[in-house]
Symmetry: C2
């Protein structure tokens, strides 16, 4: 039995993680749950899985109420270090997962990481500490695809090729991008996901974050990572080897597959929710080059990541604020790259050798973004 903690259990990835855990009752014990503001769903989950530990956002640093009978209220950092925990699923969004992830890695736990912003912010820091990457298992479909394609290979890799659906505005005339609404941006063509990642998909910030994620996860130089647009989201990513052979991983879009792969790795087991891919039904898998001029966030993000230091943390914080402001209709869609770029350009990067360095840059960039947005 693997002892599991799910951080962000009430979000989209968190709920699907519980689906997977529910499918394999003889393999997993849920040790802890942490949720954000959806307290009633969290209570329902706790009622079903009876975890020993729980955390949720409180105004008053409160403790577990009678809504969570039998659950001890602890911080996420304490939860992930509990001796019964083997694996921590980090399904939070934005900066929330950073502290718990670093705590889990320090405690030698496996981390199934869906919250890619953690790597964006702290990739350099985790690399400095060494040995962390072997314990981080990707949950996102693209890095999971790459991970699956690398199984049994001796790392003679010449290129990682990440696929991108292109988002909801792939074919929209560029002149109309300025007036798209949050509702339109939230209508992702192939994936049902949380709001933050769906907007990041529309701006292609999410794709840049994935480039950064695989750069660190698989220790790959930037120039060996390509992105290709693949609107059907069936081929989740590809790996090219030095002999010219390419491997790809395919499935219908369903996050439960990469989640299950991370939780059970290296074992593959049948599950009730799979639907075998019918290629003749799919008819065609199409590919096109990425139009980076259309999506300035992509270049802004990779420039910040290449610059290193605390730039990526500032980038991530600025994006989180910008997306939130866009969802509140306080800035337009093109206001997102514009605001993020201004924040990053006005940032003075320091070294990123501690959690504090990163959290300071994060806090600075949030203030700066709100200031620049005039909010």
């Amino acid at each position: 039995m693997k002892g599991i903690v799910v951080l962000g259990s009430t979000g989209s990835i968190g709920r699907q993680t519980l689906d997977v855990i529910r499918s394999f009752p003889d393999r997993f014990t849920l040790v802890g749950l942490a949720g954000g503001s959806n307290r009633s769903l969290l209570a329902e989950q706790a009622g079903e899985f009876r975890p020993a530990l729980v955390w949720y956002q409180t105004e008053d640093g409160g403790t577990a109420s009678s809504t969570f009978p039998g659950c001890r209220f602890v911080s996420m950092e304490e939860m992930v270090c509990h001796p019964d925990v083997d694996m921590v699923v980090v399904a939070t969004t934005g900066a929330a997962g950073l502290g718990p992830t670093l705590a889990a890695l320090s405690a030698g736990k496996s981390v199934a990481l869906a919250n890619k912003e953690v790597i964006v912010m702290a990739g350099e820091l985790i690399a400095q500490r060494g040995s962390g990457w072997d314990n981080i298992l990707p949950v996102d479909s693209e890095p999971s695809a790459i991970w699956q394609c690398l199984q049994g290979e001796d790392h003679s890799v010449s290129r990682l090729i990440i696929t991108a659906s292109g988002g909801p505005f792939r074919t929209l005339p560029r002149s109309k991008l300025g007036s798209v609404t949050p509702e339109e941006a939230l209508r992702h063509p192939t994936w049902q996901m949380g709001k933050k990642i769906t907007i990041d998909s529309a701006t292609l910030m999410n794709k840049a974050f994935e480039v950064i994620e695989v750069r660190w996860l698989f220790n790959m130089p930037w120039e060996k990572i390509d992105v290709v647009v693949h609107p059907q989201s069936i081929v989740h990513s590809l790996v090219e080897f030095e002999d010219g052979s390419i491997k790809a991983q395919l499935s219908y879009p369903d996050m439960r597959l990469p989640i299950q792969y991370a939780l059970l790795h290296p074992t593959r087991l049948p599950n009730g929710h799979r639907r075998g891919l019918d290629l003749a039904e799919v008819t065609a898998l199409t590919f096109e080059p990425l139009d980076i001029e259309r999506h300035p966030c992509f270049t802004i993000a990779l420039d910040a990541a290449r610059a290193g230091g605390t730039y990526p943390a500032a980038l991530n914080a600025a994006d989180q604020v910008a997306v939130e402001l866009f969802l509140q209709k306080r800035i337009g869609f093109l206001g997102i790259p514009s605001l993020v770029e201004k924040v990053v350009n006005s940032h003075s990067s320091g070294s990123a050798t501690s959690l504090d360095d990163i959290q300071d840059a994060d806090a600075w960039a949030r203030r700066r973004a709100l200031e620049l947005a005039g909010v």
Copy 2:
């Protein structure tokens, strides 16, 4: 240094195998060469690689002439068992590779097998002898793709999906199939190959042979092997795992890739002839169901393979005669399935427990095919 023997070195796969060996002079020594009727090309190859052993077809059981200075003339069976030999590349066609393959396996040599008819004829026999399959490395692009996709996986496979280009007549009205010429059938849309395999591709006999090949190579039940038509020949085959994930292997069509993979396995090395796949250039990978009614050879072959015993040997011999007669314009294109079916239907299968059993069925089916064709 790996000691290599190439059987069928003057054919298409044989020549490409020598290309690969030429690319890695510090990895391979050519110990022996065996060719068919193209004696001048064989002499040229021997002049370049200076193998110790040579064989070619002679009328009089002759010995190495002055055309092959320094080469000892030996039978293919003797050649493959030589102590300097680590790997035997079987790039012969039809039934020619059977005896040498069985001899090489008995001597514990690795066999890189392009001549899939050997498995069609003797799959059952090799399985009975046990332990053979681990020493057989596929060279054909489809089984090589499956082999590559299985690396690092624990065999929780739910389906093997073989791709088929569909051949030159995929879109030809069915009524016109009867009048196609050998010249038209030899114009394969995506692969440059030898004559026999190109005609087998047009009739889809080759695809049935591949189903039989992977059934034995990967010990897979018939019902877990699917074929899907993929006209671009970029996705060489796919493996579906029990969790619903699929892996595929892709490249531009170039037989030197799977040949190199078999020769260097598990190492992947850069090579001069690779051209990285540009998915955006490829634009679309398309898939459609296989039209088995259009291609009766496919069903005839799989029925014979499922029946087992000496049926597959009779099938293979009948096909070899039928293809030859078609190339000589003595029967039409639809005469191939018709003749093969008649031979198989009139065969009385015995047990296939020895090379003699198989060779007897082979000889019988050849006679019977010529008799039925009235030649």
